[in-house]
């Protein structure tokens, strides 16, 4: 079930009504309803893979409880390894099995031996990368005594499968989300209204910005050889906004939906294209994954408090793993390496934490230096996105090679098409509104709140009607494939 589908538009009010009106007095009944709703939500895609979610939930629930019952270090370590093996094993089998088979074949054929193994016909279960990381973080936290294991299986199963964030995050931590399933939720009108505003903005980003960009991105990336350098450059920029609109839009809808049910998720995007360097970008992009890698990989490896050589190693590990997490393709690995290369100079010069505040705080316009820094960071990101979007490394290389050709100085194709002008117009609208609200959690959190109610409602209607009239062809969320 897609957030931008009619099914979801019917599903949400039904679950909302049952949750608040019929079952508002009992936490257990509410949790049971959420679990059923979450499994129904997932079953719309493929009910067979529900067994994987149940397996993952059950494994970590049992292991969490066993961890709380023993102080024996080696026993605890064994339990942790079991959880990691089960989750990573699941992920590895469904996501990376064929990649490793193909890589072995490539290695053997490099040495002159041609193999013809049977590739497995595996479907990648939607959301597997997200919920395995979520349950894994729980067990690691219990093992490290950062949280206590829960005895409430229903809350734990809800924590793993809560439908707003089940298939594409944000990857929530047990410390933040699990206690919310234990407590009685009280309906908070302001929170719910803010949730609706965030959903509205998320839909705008996904349906209007991302899906309209996708129309051209698909054409340009699928036929890179026949387009001019300037068109390819335009295609790469459009992809940068497509993936931002798509993924941050999804996160906004997820966070807003959770707020309707009285839950608070952590912020997942904080206006990343206004970053002044790549370190700031990674503090603002897919924050739940970045902090996951920071806490469970980077810091255990020693983080930045190690010798220079190890610092470099750690950065490469974290970005390589991050790239690999996105998909079983060398394109993602190169995307990770590129980001590591961008990040490294900042880390070595100790400048990776120089931009902790929002850009141009307190000012309407940024300074020339800030504009330059933002543009350079954006261009570097766009360059890396080419690898992220390309089907293969060779496709990405051809794409980049063709950008840096004489035709870069020609007029890009499609610029005279209405649909392209609309897409560019909506990107500008997105940038203006997000710039004005860059200090908030989402663009509509505070915007227009002081306006008189009729005008404020007219503004929200405008956005809703723009979404309806200008929404591009319904596309799946990009991050579903991860």
């Amino acid at each position: 079930m897609l957030f931008n589908s009619i099914d979801f538009a019917i599903f949400i009010p039904v679950v909302f009504a049952l949750y608040w009106i019929v079952k508002s007095k009992e936490i257990k009944a509410q949790n049971a309803l959420l679990l059923i709703a979450s499994y129904t939500f997932y079953a719309f895609w493929d009910w067979r893979f529900l067994s994987l979610i149940v397996f993952s939930s059950l494994t970590d629930y049992i292991i969490g409880n066993r961890l709380s019952e023993t102080t024996n270090k080696s026993h605890r370590k064994l339990l942790l390894i079991t959880s990691i093996s089960a989750n990573i094993g699941l992920l590895g089998f469904f996501k990376y099995c064929n990649f490793f088979i193909d890589s072995f074949v490539d290695v053997f054929s490099f040495f002159g031996t041609d193999l013809d193994p049977n590739r497995l016909n595996i479907i990648l279960p939607i959301g597997i990368s997200f919920y395995t990381f979520q349950t894994l973080s729980y067990t690691i936290d219990v093992h490290n005594n950062k949280i206590k294991a829960t005895k409430d299986w229903l809350s734990f199963f809800c924590f793993v499968s809560f439908f707003p964030q089940l298939v594409a995050g944000p990857i929530e931590r047990a410390k933040n989300l699990l206690p919310q399933f234990h407590k009685k939720r009280v309906f908070d009108r302001y929170k719910a209204v803010d949730g609706l505003r965030q959903i509205l903005w998320g839909l705008f980003k996904k349906v209007v910005v991302a899906d309209n960009c996708a129309f051209y991105v698909n054409q340009i990336f699928n036929d890179a050889e026949s387009h001019s350098g300037s068109t390819l450059f335009l295609g790469a920029i459009l992809f940068a906004f497509q993936i931002y609109g798509d993924f941050s839009g999804y996160s906004d809808i997820a966070i807003g939906t959770a707020r309707l049910f009285g839950f608070n998720f952590k912020q997942n995007f904080a206006f990343p294209y206004f970053s002044r360097d790549i370190a700031e970008f990674w503090r603002r992009w897919h924050m739940s994954l970045s902090t996951w890698f920071r806490d469970y990989l980077y810091i255990p490896l020693g983080g930045s408090r190690v010798k220079t050589g190890n610092k470099i190693r750690n950065i490469f590990i974290i970005f390589l793993v991050s790239g690999f997490w996105h998909g079983a393709n060398y394109t993602f690995i190169i995307w990770g390496i590129l980001n590591a290369l961008y990040f490294l100079p900042l880390l070595l010069l100790n400048k990776n934490r120089q931009h902790l505040e929002v850009v141009a705080k307190g000012n309407l316009f940024p300074s020339i230096n800030e504009i330059t820094a933002m543009l350079l960071t954006f261009i570097a990101t766009v360059f890396a996105w080419i690898f992220f979007r390309a089907e293969s490394v060779s496709d990405a290389i051809i794409y980049i090679k063709n950008i840096f050709s004489k035709s870069f100085f020609t007029r890009p194709a499609f610029l005279d098409e209405e649909k392209m002008l609309l897409a560019l117009g909506f990107i500008i609208m997105l940038l203006i509104l997000e710039w004005l609200q860059r200090g908030t959690k989402h663009a509509l959190e505070k915007f227009a709140l002081n306006w008189p109610m009729p005008i404020r409602f007219a503004f929200y209607y405008c956005i809703a009607i723009i979404i309806f009239l200008f929404g591009g062809r319904e596309q799946e969320f990009i991050y579903f494939q991860f």
């Binding site: 309906f187 009108r189 719910a192 209204v193 609706l196 209405e418 309806f468 009239l469 200008f470 929404g471």
Partner: protein
Amino acid sequence: MRAFLAKSSLFVFLFLGIVLIIFHKADGNFDPFYMRFTTPKQSSLILGTSKAAQGLKPSVLNRELNRNDVYNYSFTLRLSPYGPTYLKSIKRKLKESSNKGIFILTVDPWSIFADSKTPNDLKTFEEKSKFLNFIKSTDKKPNYSYLINGYEDMYIKILYNKSLMFLHSDGWLEVHIDNFKNKKNRKKPNHRSLYFDSLRHKRHIDASINRYLKKKATYNFSEIRIKYLKKTIQELKLKGDVFLVRLPVHEDMIEIENSIMSNFNDEMEKISNEFEIDYFNLTYLNSKCIFNDANHLNRESAAYVSKELAKMINQE
């Protein structure tokens, strides 16, 4: 909670009201298929791909044949080549009680070919995943099923569309292109219109020829499509008179069609004999017609060809 529910419900219902008003405004300007799903079920149909959608005018056929029920239910090569999907949709559009209709099945090699390496594998047929396969109601206005599940573009086109196409209520798809050859007779358009000078006209034809030359590499003859063409004839014979018609195309296109299936006319003759129906090969009119591109008759030639076809039907 009550205030929240009241305000959010009001917001949603007002929004839905706006959506419904916009949906009610959808007409023939909006897209080239929608109106065909909004008219009543029909007793006489023109069937085929976009060639027939643009090239046969029901109004002319009705006038010449002294009828009032001929309706154009043709789509495009990607949507309505002969096959299970199209047959299913045709049945959905047919009046159940009627048995005195006429059915003009336009044919050409493309309509019995499949864009697939395995042209006899139904699973590879592109139209299977398109709206023609799953839009069950073909006679509702507004047709929410089509608008929500079938339509794939922006809804703003309901209110504002610069497309050159207009779908008439009888199913004829008019394309507003004025050709250099009939400049003197150029009507003041009641709609957006494009004018082709001779150079632009040639460029347009060349571009479409190139498109079909590319198609030639991926399209293959499909036994299954022939089987379904026969099945369609069989089903429609129960409802009235059936005619097989090959429409005129540009001379360059005839060459391509002959190169992919040189015995096409023989095959159609065989089918016409098998089912005892008439096969009218109108390609002898090629030189008398003007085309918008290599494949589609322009609106004046569509009227002319419709009249010629009506004469032939009347003679039978």
